[in-house]
């Protein structure tokens, strides 16, 4: 262990560590720009300078690149350090006045704008690259991009050209780079956001749409699925990962300070034996592009209600700023259409009411006014169904307080005109036609079961209705159970419902499941099937007919352990005693306890005696 003094405190460092590392160990923060923990330091930007007072040659040295040495006495914020740091920031700001990091540092380190003249000409783009790609004016020449590509990733697609003030980051001969693998490590390490590999990569770099934001922005292959994901850890999307596609890159492994990334790792299937299952697979929205007249999919400013949720969300693609997808401007007028695909007897829609749309549309109108104070909102509705505690009051407030204008009627056509969307519809209350020039249209599409819900139901052997919503065992008496023992339902997988209803059902399902597993012993139906192993010949017709998946094969072994027969076996916990197996069994080897032939005959005998 190397011992040194930093700002009067005793610090420790290991061989090979720098002053910066040692300071970090003490919790002393030193600003850096050209330093990245995964890339060998060069000490180029000089914002990290510290003063060596004793134990070495006195003077200013870059903390990031200066080795921690025994007995050094270091000051990280002395007068000399502050002066130098402030001047460095001022000079870099003179070069890149737009760079955010520098502005922040300038505030922090008291670097008033110098009355200096910034260099006039900045880096020329590589040949063949459209002007305006990337933000070269923000390049502070720290060299991280060049170094990460050369030292960590390997292709060395970029390099420095020119000397002194003429120095610039570019590709060889300023041509588009064939060796760039488009990994984006350069953009990742760039402290000012000056570089974009799309500028100089000779092949196009496809951006990955961010699923959670419904494709309104992009994400990297390693990403957090959504802000409140549990566990809150990033995941690696192999399909889009450069390493898995080309065998190159692998930068994440080197860069991750915790060493948490292991690219050798394989997906694995985990098997658990459980006593209860709660199905809560939720719902999706009907794809409204089936309705040509609304132009969904053709006009970017026609969005679904779920997309609208993302666009106004603080964690969404625009950080909560509501803008038109087509041009990024705030929508000055907006039209909400309810019942898109709901309550439809014929056509591609659903006959049922989606139940949640009336309420969330009222909420959307409020959110909209919150973001666009002078905006105008309209709602086309069939009926407002606000059954629920305080629901009616909520909707009435929205229409009364003129948050939105409610129009009873359907929309027949939407078409673009002069940068706007013209919404044509009927107002059945006034009996006339209306035409609204809107900036945005929001479609409250019908709630439908999530994809794969029926396959799941088949796998679990639970029943579902004609739309694919999962069925409860009894609508009044057993609303959270399924017909299969131990399997429960919660939320919108069962039927369209809002959060309060979902939570209520989920709580009930949870307590039902707990009721099963808290006991040492399981209470089961007394009347279940039993197999007569002497006569069963292992045809497994019974397995096919069992609606509850209670029958499975069982090996019969002799003393030496060799399998001599495979016979049907009934899981006592699952069997509901319905008797389907009994009537199917050709060798009459299954009987239902309490109703065996012998018992029935005895009963008859007793009666007729």
């Amino acid at each position: 262990m190397i011992k040194l003094h930093i700002d009067g405190q005793e610090a420790e460092a290991e061989e090979g560590q720098t002053i910066l590392d040692a300071a970090k160990g003490l919790g002393i923060e030193i600003p850096t720009l050209c330093h990245h923990r995964a890339i060998p330091p060069v000490g180029a930007c000089r914002v990290c300078v510290v003063e060596i007072r004793d134990g070495g040659r006195p003077g200013l040295v870059p903390a990031c690149a200066y080795p921690a040495q025994e007995g050094l006495v270091v000051e990280t914020a002395s007068e000399a350090v502050r002066e130098s740091r402030s001047m460095t920031i001022q000079l870099l700001l003179a070069r890149c006045p737009e760079a955010e990091v520098l502005r922040k540092l300038a505030e922090q380190w008291d670097a008033p704008p110098l009355t200096l003249d910034a260099p006039l000409d900045h880096v020329e783009p590589p040949k063949g690259v459209p002007e305006g790609a990337g933000d070269r004016d923000k390049c502070i020449l720290c060299g991280l991009c060049v170094r990460v590509c050369q030292d960590i990733i390997g292709p060395a697609a970029t390099a420095f050209a020119g000397r002194g003030i003429e120095r610039k980051v570019t590709t060889p001969y300023k041509l588009l780079s064939d060796v760039c693998i488009g990994c984006g490590a350069c953009a990742l390490v760039c402290p000012t956001g000056a570089i974009d590999p799309a500028e100089f990569c000779s092949h196009s770099i496809e951006k990955i749409p961010n699923e959670f934001n419904l494709g309104f922005d992009t994400r990297t292959p390693i990403h957090l699925p959504f802000p409140q994901a549990v566990p809150n850890k990033p995941i690696l999307d192999r399909e889009n990962c450069i390493h898995f596609r080309t065998g190159g890159c692998g930068a994440c492994e080197t860069i991750c300070p915790a060493g948490a990334i292991d690219l050798e790792m394989e997906d694995e299937i985990v098997e658990e034996e459980v006593g209860a299952i709660i199905v809560a697979t939720g719902y999706e929205l009907l794809d409204p592009s089936v309705y040509e007249e609304y132009g969904y999919g053709r006009y970017p400013d026609v969005v679904t209600s779920l997309e609208f949720e993302r666009l106004v969300s603080a964690s969404g693609p625009t950080n909560g700023e509501l803008t038109r997808p087509s041009n990024g401007e705030p929508p000055k007028s907006i039209v909400f259409l309810q019942c898109i695909g709901s309550r439809e007897e014929t056509g591609p829609g659903k006959p049922y009411c989606s139940k949640i749309c009336c309420m969330y549309t009222a909420k959307h109108a409020i959110l909209y006014k919150h973001k666009v104070h002078d905006g105008q909102a309209f709602v086309f509705f069939m009926d407002v169904r606000a059954g629920g505690k305080n629901y009616e009051e909520f909707v009435r407030r929205v229409s009364k307080e003129k948050v939105a204008t409610y129009l009873r009627g359907r929309v027949s056509k939407i078409f673009p005109h002069d940068g706007k969307l013209v919404v044509q519809g009927a107002d059945t209350l006034s009996g006339g036609q209306v035409e609204i020039a809107a900036d945005m249209v929001v479609l409250a599409a019908a709630v439908v079961p999530s994809k794969g819900a029926t396959e799941l139901a088949q796998k679990l052997r639970i029943s579902y209705d004609q739309h694919g919503f999962l069925s409860e065992a009894h609508p009044k008496l057993r609303p959270v159970e399924t017909n299969t023992a131990g399997i429960f339902l919660a939320g919108a997988c069962h039927s369209a419902k809002d959060i309060p209803d979902s939570v209520a059902q989920a709580s009930a399902a949870a307590s039902k499941a707990l009721g099963l597993v808290v006991h040492d012993r399981l209470t089961r139906e007394p009347t279940i099937g039993i197999v007569n192993e002497l006569t069963c010949n292992g045809c497994f017709e019974c397995e096919n007919v069992c609606a509850y998946g209670a029958i499975s094969p069982k090996d019969i072994k002799d003393r030496s352990g060799a399998t001599v027969a495979v016979l049907a076996n009934i899981n006592e916990g699952l069997c509901q005693g319905c008797g389907a197996c009994m009537v199917t069994c050709r060798s009459k080897s299954i009987e239902v306890q309490g109703y065996t032939d012998n018992q029935l005959f005895s009963e008859i005998n007793a009666i007729t005696r």
Partner: protein, 619 residues
């Protein structure tokens, strides 16, 4: 040359030397012609051929013809010395050849017209030593330059070459060599002045088998050419020094990094390396000692900053020559990450003499902290320019006035700039400063590689500072922010000042920036770059102030601050200026005084330059 046999022992070397000395002294007459780059440019190679032809036709085959390295007095080239009397002729031309052969060689008559005439005493100087330019010099580094033929190893051996190497390999341990060099007080001549022996020790004490020695022959300072002259004129001394150094630190491979613009140095070094290999003085088992050493030449690609040691190493490794943060120093981790000792050409050249004549002899020369001599390239507004070697501690006055012969055109001395582009300007009041590493640093200048530029009263110090900074703006590698951005901004401010756009507060900003760049830069390019500005601000602040406040350039250099005027008394009306003026700003009839229309004048200065009567004045 005799058959090139391997010299297997020190005795073989002694025997060869004896043969050479005997053969040489037997020659009665020798015509020694300078074949340094300066004299070549003035036709010395043609002269050499002409001598050859005429000597042959005169049947004088016992006259030896020798092409030597640079004498340092290039300004007066081509230089010819006739042995054994060592008659020193300068500015010799083709037409003089016949006369020299006829009179001097055949009849031992001196040709006074070709001798140097001391402008002070009006005396003709017959031998080099009498010429004031040489009289005050002490030539240790230049001990062979201008005397031996650099392409003939026997010449070098005859002049006691490789004696030191033989001595070291035959009877000294590496530690003893390091100690001896340390005791001599030799400090690096590349500019930093780090004690050479100590540097060797550090490198020697590093763990690891593989180590390297490097000779820094990049010599990027504009105007400096002492290293080139040594490499061209005495290549074996450099090789011998490196071999001794390699033995001392435990290296078996050396690199000679030679500036790309020095083709003759590369040629002569290559010849020397080949000859040394043939003689067994490079290669395996040198002098039967078991010590192996080879040298490779690497040609630089022409950036000033490649002279900086870490930049140079990057350049050898095939990277862009960009300096890196030290530590680790090259002695710990240098070329290919191995301990590497890097020294300047002049430093290496000092090594053989130190080991031959002893540390105490060397330490007796020079000052308290700086031992030995230093070669300066004396240029600028002095009468005699060229390479001068003086003991450390010689005063600037001695160098400028005694050796340099004072200021040209009887003008007034103003300043001397030392240390290359990032050196400092020293004013007249410090002319008696003894020149050594520490004294120069004290006054805000530096030794650098030994450039000395003399400036007269017609030099504007602001313009000078701007000029040097301009060079450094172009040569900064651009890696670290202080040097790249700071020097650039300083240069911009200076440009404004000389254009008459100087503002209140500019000088303070310059000082602030200057101190910042010095303290915060990654390498010593930035660490010294502000010197020209800071030193002129220190000694010539009034000139800056005149530029900013009065908008005046007293030296008459900064065009924007100067008014041209024709003195009607002196003007003869010759019309020359009127005809040459590009903007037709000058009017006046023939034989009548002319005048300049200030509104049209663009201050190009053509009138001033062309006037034969001194009638154009600047103010």
């Amino acid at each position: 040359m005799t058959e090139a046999t391997r010299l297997q022992t020190p005795d073989d070397l002694a025997a060869l030397r004896a043969r050479v000395v005997e053969r040489r002294s037997a020659k009665k007459v020798c015509v020694s012609i300078c074949a340094g780059t300066g004299c070549r440019a003035q036709g010395s190679m043609e002269l050499l051929a002409e001598f050859g032809r005429q000597l042959e036709s005169a049947g004088l085959d016992d006259v030896e013809l020798r092409a030597t390295g640079c004498h340092g007095f290039c300004e007066r080239g081509p230089l010819v010395v006739i042995h054994p009397r060592k008659i020193f002729y300068h500015s010799v031309q083709m037409k003089h050849v016949a006369d020299i052969i006829d009179k001097t060689i055949q009849h031992d008559e001196v040709l006074p017209a070709l001798l140097f005439r001391d402008p002070k005493t009006k005396q003709r100087c017959e031998v080099e030593g009498e010429v004031p330019f040489y009289a005050k010099q002490q030539r240790i580094v230049f001990r062979h330059n201008g005397i031996i033929d650099p392409t003939d190893i026997e010449d070098y051996v005859g002049a006691d070459g490789y004696v030191a190497l033989a001595k070291v390999l035959a009877g000294m341990t590496p530690e003893q060599v390091c100690d001896e060099v340390e005791a001599s007080g030799l400090r690096g001549r590349g500019g930093g002045g780090f004690p050479t022996g100590k540097k060797w020790q550090i490198c020697r004490n590093q763990p690891g088998e593989t180590k390297y020695v490097i000779c820094n022959g990049d010599e990027g300072d504009p105007g400096a050419f002492m290293d080139r002259s040594i490499m061209e004129g005495d290549p074996h001394a450099v090789l011998e020094g490196m071999t001794i150094g390699a033995y001392a630190i435990g290296a078996s491979k050396g690199y000679l990094y030679v500036r790309g613009e020095y083709p003759l140095a590369v040629a002569n070094l290559n010849v020397a390396i080949e000859q040394a290999k043939t003689r067994g003085l490079l290669g395996d088992d040198i002098f039967g000692s078991g010590f192996n050493f080879t040298v490779e030449i690497v040609r630089g690609a022409g950036a000033f900053v490649c002279g900086e040691e870490t930049g140079l190493i990057a350049s050898i490794e095939g990277d862009i020559g960009t300096p890196r943060q030290r530590p680790p120093y090259p002695a710990e981790s240098g070329l290919w990450g191995k301990p590497t000792n890097i020294n300047n050409v002049e430093t290496w050249t000092n090594v053989p003499v130190i080991l031959e004549r002893g540390a105490s002899w060397f330490a007796s020369i020079g000052t308290e902290g700086s031992k030995g001599t230093k070669v300066f390239s004396l240029v600028g507004k002095v009468n005699n320019t060229g390479l001068v070697e003086v003991p450390m501690g010689a005063t600037l006055r001695e160098i400028v006035f005694d050796i340099g012969g004072g200021i040209q055109k009887k003008r007034k001395f103003k300043a001397v700039q030392t240390g290359g582009p990032s050196g400092g300007c020293i004013p007249e009041s410090l002319l008696d400063l003894p020149v050594d590493f520490d004294k120069l640093r004290e006054v805000g200048a530096m030794m650098g590689s030994g450039g000395l530029i003399v400036m007269d009263e017609r030099t504007c110090m602001v313009d000078v500072a701007k000029y040097f900074l301009g060079f450094l703006v172009g040569e900064s590698c651009g890696r670290c922010a202080p040097c790249r951005e700071g020097v650039f901004q300083m240069h911009r401010i200076l440009s404004r000042i000389v254009e008459g756009e100087g503002r209140e507060g500019d000088l303070e900003t310059l000082e602030k920036l200057g101190n910042y760049v010095k303290a915060s830069s990654l390498c010593q390019l930035g660490g010294t770059a502000p010197n020209p500005v800071l030193s002129t601000l220190r000694y010539f602040r009034h000139e800056y102030e005149a530029h900013i406040k009065e908008k005046k350039c007293r030296a008459g250099i900064c065009k924007e601050l100067v008014q041209f005027r024709i003195d009607p008394e002196t003007c003869t009306g010759c019309t020359l200026c009127r005809r040459d003026c590009p903007t037709e700003a000058i009017t006046g009839a023939k034989k009548e005084p002319h005048r300049i229309d200030a509104a049209q004048c663009i201050k190009c200065g053509v009138c001033y330059d062309v006037c034969n009567f001194g009638a154009v004045e600047v103010e």
